[in-house]
């Protein structure tokens, strides 16, 4: 899987970096609508444990997903720092709960690590690339993975 970010131009160069457990992740800033504190959510019956429920964002109803739980990373750090990143994935608006939102980063082209070096196991389904920033290795999260695979299978079962 090759990174789409090795030759970025313009605003695509910017990422929002956040943490899940001790791991650092990033998503393209372009897809981020806003960052909010963790809202009250209405749980939906029979949902996977990482699906926190639905929330009211200024009149619009969105799903909130616990990202750390979804990628099975142990939570770490101060609960007060937990935040929800509202993302827009090709028109689908969702809230992603993360342990903390760190900063906006602007990695150089040469900071990106080749994806071939990263093929380790099945867990990297959500990895869209990696870059190195200061001493950290930041994983670029593939947002499309949030709604594919398990969710669709789940939905298909219900529709049947």
């Amino acid at each position: 899987m090759s990174s789409n970010y090795e030759n970025p131009t313009g605003i695509e160069k910017k990422f929002l970096q956040f943490s899940c457990g001790r791991e650092k992740f990033a998503i393209p800033l372009m897809k981020v609508r806003e960052v909010i504190g963790v809202p009250e959510t209405t749980p939906t019956p029979f949902s996977p444990d990482y699906y926190l429920g639905i929330m009211n964002l200024r009149g619009k109803i969105l799903s909130v997903v616990d990202l750390c739980r979804k990628i099975q990373v142990e939570p770490f750090g101060n609960r007060e720092e937990n935040a929800v990143i509202i993302v827009d994935i090709d028109g689908v608006v969702l809230g992603l709960k993360v342990d903390s939102v760190d900063k906006v980063v602007f990695p150089d082209a040469d900071a990106f690590v080749g994806a071939d070096q990263l093929k380790t196991g099945t867990q990297n389904a959500f990895i869209d690339g990696v870059f190195r920033l200061e001493s950290d290795l930041v994983i670029i999260f593939d947002l499309n993975q949030i709604l594919t695979g398990e969710e669709l299978r789940f939905l298909d079962q219900e529709a049947a």
């Binding site: 209405t42 749980p43 939906t44 019956p45 929330m55 009211n56 109803i61 799903s63 939905l155 219900e158």
Partner: protein, 568 residues
């Protein structure tokens, strides 16, 4: 001419309809160019184009609908306008007098035709006047206007329409409508605060706000409303075709075609209406006009469709004066198909209503039209999906009346807010027939069947919602005492749903749930309650049909081998 050829609508034939449309549109157009005529009179020649376009359109359309006299009249009028435009005839008191005379005459002609499409119109007098006028004017200038007549016509008449209407995307309308819905709910919340307020200014202002927001809501709903006439016209065509196909002459009486309904509803309504109407002609009406005659009925079948608003709903009644439905026959068929149990006593009306049960069909040989597995159960399903109701009243030998009830607004519904294991849920009021507070003695538990409620002698299956939804928070062995049961009905079968507490009844704005929400089809949508938290709106009918999986219907106590089919 055979009996089938006599199939005509009581008031109008198809041709009559388009003629009426023409007249109406012509009158509208004529009204809208009134200003142009006045401008022309004051010497503004630029408006001649507009008037010319109108005349040209009327000429063509009049001819198309068969009003040749009007067409001839317009042709002559066109000539006059061309002369005026090319300034061969200057704007004078005399020329304007003629122009206005012609305009008035046209109005008069349209009115006469409106009364009677076959009215004899003789435009020769006016035509002569025009010809005389044109030829009497000395040609003051050579025609140096390069624009040809065809060139003028290239400007399409759409330009006129632009003044009257505005094209707005559905999305924008929906956004507005959603925002208005939120406004209404927010305002009702403020209204609650004002009830406990002693600040008189606040209370007064809140009252005014309440009235204002109601007006805004009505206006916003009106944006989506279109007259049901269009759909009814299509249905009339279906009736006419069916009648011809089956050789059953039919007369249709339509009432309330100007009744307005939400555009989205109307699109979904067409199919069910077609089924009902075809059913009425195919099964409802007697097989031949002779049979009808022998019964003392007119040979022509009578179908009446009436639409009106009643208490926030659109009611559509479709009646036929055919043979009616025999409740016993329906009951027998239902018994045979295992859709109902012998011991359960049903009234005649309840028996007739069994036709709506999924899996039911009266005719053994499926006729081309109303058969093919598309029965009243599908109609019921469609109507349910629109959050509506359908019922039937029938008298054997006299006819049947189908009564559809549809909410006028799809996005705001009356809901009951109930508390289940610490969480609030909304239940559509339209799906609830009653609510009861229970004590333990009314509920028994039968292994293999679950909980049964004894409601005034009737045994209903009930489900505890907190268990059914897998929400922890209430002890499953909790007594039922003090809990509320929502009694619902789906396809003729009644059942109950137990909630911890009923909180209140309020209007809620239904927000569609996005696809990624798990189990989304069990919910009608979600809504934001006064607390700001979203609440799920549970579709009780869906809930019930989901629950039937693997569950033996209570009425089959003595027939363990038969199972209720899963709801549609």
């Amino acid at each position: 001419m055979n009996a089938a050829d006599m199939c005509f609508m009581k008031k109008r034939s198809f041709e009559d309809e388009i003629r009426s449309d023409f007249i109406e549109e012509a009158q509208d157009n004529l009204d809208s160019v009134e200003q142009a005529f006045l401008k022309l009179e004051s010497g503004d020649l630029s408006v001649v184009d507009e008037i010319f376009r109108l005349a040209h359109n009327l000429k063509g359309t009049a001819k198309a609908v068969g009003f040749v006299h009007v067409s001839q009249f317009m042709h002559s009028f066109e000539n006059l306008l061309t002369e005026i435009k090319n300034e061969n005839i200057s704007v004078t008191e005399q020329s304007m007098e003629l122009v206005f005379l012609l305009k008035d005459r046209l109005s008069q002609i349209l009115m006469q035709l409106d009364q009677d499409h076959s009215c004899d119109i003789d435009p020769s007098g006016e035509i002569e006047k025009i010809e005389a006028f044109i030829s009497s004017r000395p040609r003051s200038r050579l025609q140096n206007d390069s624009r040809s007549r065809d060139g003028d016509v290239k400007k399409t008449p759409q330009q006129k329409k632009k003044d009257e209407t505005l094209r707005v995307s559905n999305k924008k309308l929906k956004n507005l409508s959603d925002a208005v819905g939120e406004l209404v709910i927010m305002q009702s919340i403020i209204g609650q605060y004002s009830k406990s307020s002693t600040d008189i200014n606040f209370v007064r202002a809140t009252d005014q706000l309440s009235k204002l927001s109601k007006t805004i809501q009505e206006l916003s709903m009106e944006l989506f409303m279109v007259p049901i006439k269009g759909t009814l016209m299509k249905i009339q065509r279906v009736i006419r075709d069916s009648s011809k196909e089956l050789n059953k002459p039919v007369e249709v009486l339509i009432k309330g075609e100007t009744t307005e309904i939400a555009k989205s509803t109307i699109e979904s309504l067409y199919e069910p209406l077609v089924h009902i109407v075809r059913n009425a002609i195919d099964h409802g009406l007697e097989d031949t006009p002779e049979q009808r005659r022998q019964l003392g009925k007119s040979e022509i079948g009578q179908i009446e469709i009436s639409c009106f608003h009643e208490g926030g709903n659109l009611i559509i009644k479709i009646s036929d004066d055919g043979r009616g439905i025999d409740p016993e026959r329906v009951y027998e068929t239902a018994l045979k198909k295992g859709l109902v149990k012998k011991e359960v006593s049903l009234s005649d009306n309840e028996k007739t209503s069994l036709i709506f049960t999924p899996g039911f069909s009266t005719k053994k040989n499926v006729s081309t039209m109303s058969g093919r597995g598309v029965g009243m159960d599908v109609v019921m399903k469609n109507i349910r999906e629109l959050s509506g109701h359908i019922g039937i009243e029938s008298k054997k030998g006299e006819g049947s009346t189908f009564r559809l009830s549809l909410p006028l607004t799809v996005s705001v519904i009356d809901g009951v807010v109930g508390r289940v294991a610490g969480q609030s849920f909304v239940f559509p009021l339209s799906q609830i027939s009653e609510t009861v507070l229970v004590g333990n003695h009314e509920i028994s538990y039968v292994t293999g069947l679950g909980h049964i409620l004894n409601l005034r002698g009737e045994s209903l299956p009930i489900w505890v919602l907190s268990e059914a939804l897998g929400i922890n928070g209430s002890d499953p062995t909790d007594s039922f005492y003090g809990k509320s049961v929502l009694i619902c009905e789906n396809a003729g079968v009644r059942f109950g749903v137990v909630v911890d507490k009923l909180e209140k009844q309020q209007q809620v704005l239904v927000k569609e749930l996005s696809f990624e929400v798990p189990d989304r089809d069990v919910y009608l949508g979600s809504s934001i309650l006064g607390t700001g938290l979203p609440a799920l709106i549970i579709d009780l009918a869906k809930f019930y049909s989901n629950k039937l999986d693997g569950l033996i219907q209570i009425s089959h106590l003595s027939e363990p081998e038969s199972h209720m089919e899963k709801g549609a």
